[in-house]
Symmetry: C2
DNA sequence: CTGAAAGCGCTTACAG
DNA sequence: CTGAAAGCGCTTACAG
């Protein structure tokens, strides 16, 4: 131990990993689209929480960023880097079933808020109760007297997207309101895309009195579009977001939104991926 | 190659690394204090940009999160994980010279916005021209007629902190204004700490007409404190921030602030740490 | 050009 | 209990 100190020695984890088949590393796959980078506050909070939670029990965090191997399956990428578990946060990203194939039976896997709809019965995942949350948010808008609520949904892939639409529909049905498919648009969780959709809806005289978006960033895009068209929020058109990111509080007037416990979600995912250690 | 496809084979990077002494991995040390996590938009943009830049040339990103080895030196941590280069983003964090000792001559190292003041002549670092930026911002406040400008500085360690104070001082001197050390306070880049400082300054009747903070988050803390004391911004007290994070734009009225090109900084740091590959 | 051997720095049985 | 050997999955010289 004296020599260890003197030489500032520490064991080479690669050599150790060759034997023990462990690396004390948790891998994370992160959306690679613009709207799904760390800049998104909800996602960066997830990462912070994962980093902290696994750090306490001795793990480092590997972010898969290498774009030169985009044809490999997630399974082989995980094997290649020898991670002990993997967390998938693929919000807003095209999911390729081929890439995910076989991943689940080779190491601990958990999705956060982005389990593919076709797959969610077979895998671990952490998410908010999106259906109920969307139901509550929509009812809130209805109680305020709104009747023509535009649902600015996420993508057509993730369970979270579908569930938020389902909650919206359930609230309409419960209040004996018709479901108009033209009032359901897909903003891909993108502020810019949402801006465009709202601009085009208003310009095409779509009759709406409120907008319920599937993320706060989408809500900001929607509000910007409304303002640019000289519509007042919420007087002319009410807007409700989803996520409750920091900006929602700072925004004046503060954005009405659905809170997601991002820190807790990251923590829980970390514990699922390393059940023994935590 | 047919077998490779069929078996979904990919080489074990640990075994390969044992021979080649490379891992196609860039390590990142990140501040571990509350105010320096990914939740800080400036920092999460840096990480996004590093992730993207190194990803294009085939690298993954290792975030050192393991808290169980906090006594090791950075050098031994890097050796242990076999990273090919390391980026240090230690804003707002106590820097321990012992930990950094010897790191610089064992692998490519670059600091972002956080080089220890005692060390900055010997190492690579990427930063804004903080002195000039602080000078410009302070002059802006002076031109608006402000005479008693509180400098809400960062910490007492980082070069960026000192440089922003230096720029502030130079602007005062150039305009024949006295430098009052009581008007320089350290907010540790923290919103909460800044809130407290401003509260206590005002309660103690410190005579100020403007505040120049060293980060936007600190500016938000300052503004919150002023509002809670029923002071108007900017009518009673003007506030200028630093960073130009997304929130600064969304805030109403928009926060006056100094722009930092965070994406470019991350990109540049990535290129320095892997000069051959980019 | 092909194929077997040596060796990277560890851990884990195993022999002494 | 101590110490040498085998082996993890690769790469790189080297022999054939």
């Amino acid at each position: 131990m004296k020599a260890v100190k003197e030489l500032d020695y520490s064991p080479n984890i690669m050599a150790r990993g060759l034997i023990t088949k462990t690396s004390n590393t948790i891998g994370v796959f992160f959306g690679d689209q613009k709207n799904a980078g760390f800049e998104h506050p909800f996602l960066s909070q997830l990462i912070t929480s994962i980093k902290d939670t696994i750090g306490v029990v001795g793990y480092d965090l590997l972010i898969f960023s290498n774009q030169k191997r985009d044809t490999s399956s997630f399974k082989s990428i995980c094997y290649e880097r020898g991670v002990d578990g993997v967390i998938l946060i693929l919000t807003g990203q095209r999911r390729n079933d081929e890439k995910i194939f076989n991943l689940h039976n080779s190491l601990p896997v958990v999705y956060i808020d982005s389990v593919p709809n076709s797959n969610y019965k077979k895998v671990n995942f952490v998410e908010s109760d999106n259906e109920q949350a969307a139901f509550d948010a929509t009812e809130h808008l209805i109680r305020l007297g709104n009747r023509k609520i535009l649902k600015l949904a996420g993508d057509r892939i993730a369970k979270a997207s579908f569930d938020r639409i389902a909650g919206y529909k359930r609230a309409l049905l419960k209040n004996n309101m018709p479901i108009d498919e033209k009032l359901i648009q897909y903003g891909e969780f993108s502020k810019e895309k949402s801006y465009e959709i709202v601009q085009s809806c208003i310009r095409n005289n779509l009759d709406i009195d409120a907008i319920f978006t599937s993320s706060d960033m989408m809500a900001f895009g929607a509000i910007e579009a409304l303002k640019d068209l000289h519509l007042r929020v919420p007087d002319d058109i009410a807007v409700v977001g989803f996520d409750d990111i920091e900006q929602a509080k700072l925004y004046k007037p503060a954005l009405t939104t659905v809170h997601q416990q991002s820190y807790k979600m990251g923590e829980l995912a970390s514990k699922i991926v390393r059940p023994s250690a935590m």
